[in-house]
Amino acid sequence: MVEIIEKLLLYCQFPFVRYALAVGVLIALCSSLLGVTLVLKRFSFIGDGLSHVAFGAMAVATAMGLANNLVLVLPVTIISAILLLSPGQNSKVKGDASVAMVSVGTLAIGYLVMNLFSKSSNLSGDVCSTLFGSTKILTLTQDEVMLSSILSVLVLAVFVFFYNKIFAVTFDEDFSTATGVNAKAYNLVFAGIIAVVIVLAMNLVGALLISALVVFPALSAMRVFKSFLAVSICSVVLSVFCALFGIMVSIVAGTPVGSTIVAMDILGYFAFCILGFLTRRSKV
C-alpha cells in the first residue's frame, strides 16, 4: 500500500501526470453533467457520431491540402452538433436515428474522399487519434489544461444558471412553449454548449472516452435516484470519482488511461445497479 502511494506521489511530480489528472477530472465533470440531458434526449451516441463527423471533415481537409486540419474540422463538427441537437422533441427524425444517419454518412464519405484523394502518409494515424484519442491525454500542454479549466467553469456556470430551464424543456417541450417559455432558444443554447464541450473534449481525450463519460454516470445515477436534481449531482460525483480513480490505477498498473476510466465507469454502473435493486427491495 505504502509502495503504491509512493509511486503515485512520484508520478505526480511529472507535469504531464498532473495535467492528465486535471483535464480528465474536468472533462468527466462536464460531460456527465450534460450526459443526463443527452441520455434523456436520446443522444447517448452523440460523442461517437461527432467523432465520425470529425473524421469525415479531416479527410476532406487533408484532400484539400489544408495546412491546419482543425480550421475545417472544429467548425464542421460544432455546426453538425448544433444541427443535430437543436430541433428538440418535435423533430421529424428522432435523436438516435439522426445521430446514426450523420455518423454513418460522414464515415462513408470521409473514407471515400480519403481513397480518392489520399495525399497524406499519416492519414491512418490521424484517423486513429480522432476516433480513440489514444495517448493524447498524456501529452497535454499547459494551454490545453487552461482551456479545459476555463471551459469547465463556463459549462458549470451555464448549467447551474439554466438548470430549471433545462429540466422543463427536456421534460416537456410543448408545455414550456405553450406557457410562454422560449424553448427553441434554450434548445439552441444547450446545443451550443454541448457541441463545444464534446468537440473540444474529443480532441483532448478521444471519442471513445467521451461517449463512455456521457452515458455511464448518467445511467448509473438513474438506477438509484428518481429526481432530476439527485441524478445530476450523483452522476457528476460518480463520474469525477471514476475518472480520478481510473487515472491513478492506470498510472500504477501501467494500463491505457482512457480504457481504464471506462472500465471504472462500467464497474460503477454495476455497483449502482445492485444498489438500486437493494434500495427497491428494502422499500417493499
Binding site: 447551474v160 438548470y163 430549471n164 412553449t177
Partner: protein, 239 residues
C-alpha cells in the same frame, strides 16, 4: 373585451386543412367546452391557440390583459419517457418557469405556489415520488397542478379525464369547475357530453371540417340544429 378571440381561422398541417372559417371567443370566467368526434381538429385548435402550430390563416387575439406567458395547459397525451427521473415536486414547480424570465431559480412565492397547488389537488403526499411511477390519474393531477402554477387566468385542458375511472373523472370535473368558479377561464376538450353540459357555460362543437355550433350552453340545448349533433346524449341529459 374577450380574453381570447379567434377570427376566421383556418387550421391545418403543412397544407392539409383541418378546419376552416372558425370564429369564437372566450371571456374571463367562461367555461368553454370543445366537442367533436375523433380527428375533428380539437387538439389542433388548442395547439394553435397555444402557438405550437401556426394557423393557415386568420387571427388569434389575446385580450383583456392576458399575456402569452399566463396560460396554463394540460396536454392530451404526455409523451414523457418512461426513464425520465423527475419527482412530482420538480414537475409541478416547472410550471412556474414562465414567470422567471432571466432569474435562474424559483423564488419563495413560486415554491409556495407549487406546494399550494399540490395541496389543492390532493397530491402533497406524492411530492417526493417519481413522476413516471404514478398511475395515470395521479399523473393527470400532477400535470394539472403544473398547469395551475403557470396561470391564474386561463386554463386549456385537452381531455383532462381521459383514462380516468368514473369516480376520478367526476372529481376531476368538479375540481375544474371549482377552479372556474374561482375566476379562472377554462377551455376544455371533452368527449364526455354529459359532463360538458353539466359544467360548461359555452359550447364549441366542431365537425366536418368546420364549426357546427358556437354559443352558450342554453342555446346549444334549445337550438335544434345544435343539439342535433349530439341528440341522444342531449336527450339523455335533459331527462
Amino acid at each position: 373585451m374577450p380574453q381570447l378571440e379567434c377570427q376566421d381561422i383556418v387550421l391545418g398541417y403543412e397544407g392539409n386543412v383541418v378546419i376552416t372559417d372558425l370564429s369564437f371567443s372566450a371571456s374571463e370566467g367562461d367555461y368553454l367546452c370543445i366537442l367533436g368526434e375523433n380527428g375533428s381538429g380539437k387538439s389542433t385548435l388548442m395547439k394553435t391557440i397555444l402557438m405550437l402550430n401556426t394557423p393557415v390563416s386568420g387571427q388569434i387575439i389575446l385580450g383583456d390583459g392576458l399575456k402569452a406567458n399566463e396560460i396554463g395547459y394540460l396536454p392530451q397525451q404526455n409523451i414523457v419517457q418512461k426513464d425520465f427521473p423527475a419527482s412530482v415536486r420538480e414537475v409541478v414547480r416547472s410550471g412556474c418557469l414562465n414567470r422567471c424570465g432571466w432569474r435562474p431559480f424559483y423564488n419563495k412565492t413560486e415554491k409556495q405556489m407549487a406546494e399550494d397547488n399540490m395541496d389543492r389537488l390532493g397530491i402533497s403526499s406524492l411530492a417526493k415520488r417519481c413522476y413516471r411511477e404514478l398511475s395515470g390519474g395521479q399523473q393527470q393531477r400532477v400535470l394539472l397542478a403544473r398547469a395551475l402554477c403557470a396561470t391564474q387566468k386561463i386554463l386549456l385542458l385537452d381531455e383532462p379525464a381521459a383514462g380516468l375511472d368514473p369516480s376520478a373523472s367526476l372529481s376531476m370535473y368538479s375540481l375544474i369547475s371549482s377552479l372556474n368558479s374561482e375566476g379562472i377561464t377554462v377551455i376544455m376538450i371533452s368527449h364526455d357530453i354529459a359532463a360538458a353540459l353539466e359544467y360548461a357555460s359555452h359550447i364549441l362543437h366542431l365537425g366536418g371540417g368546420s364549426c357546427l355550433f358556437f354559443g352558450s350552453k342554453e342555446d346549444y340545448l334549445k337550438n335544434r340544429s345544435g343539439s342535433m349533433f349530439a341528440k341522444p346524449e342531449v336527450d339523455k341529459w335533459l331527462k
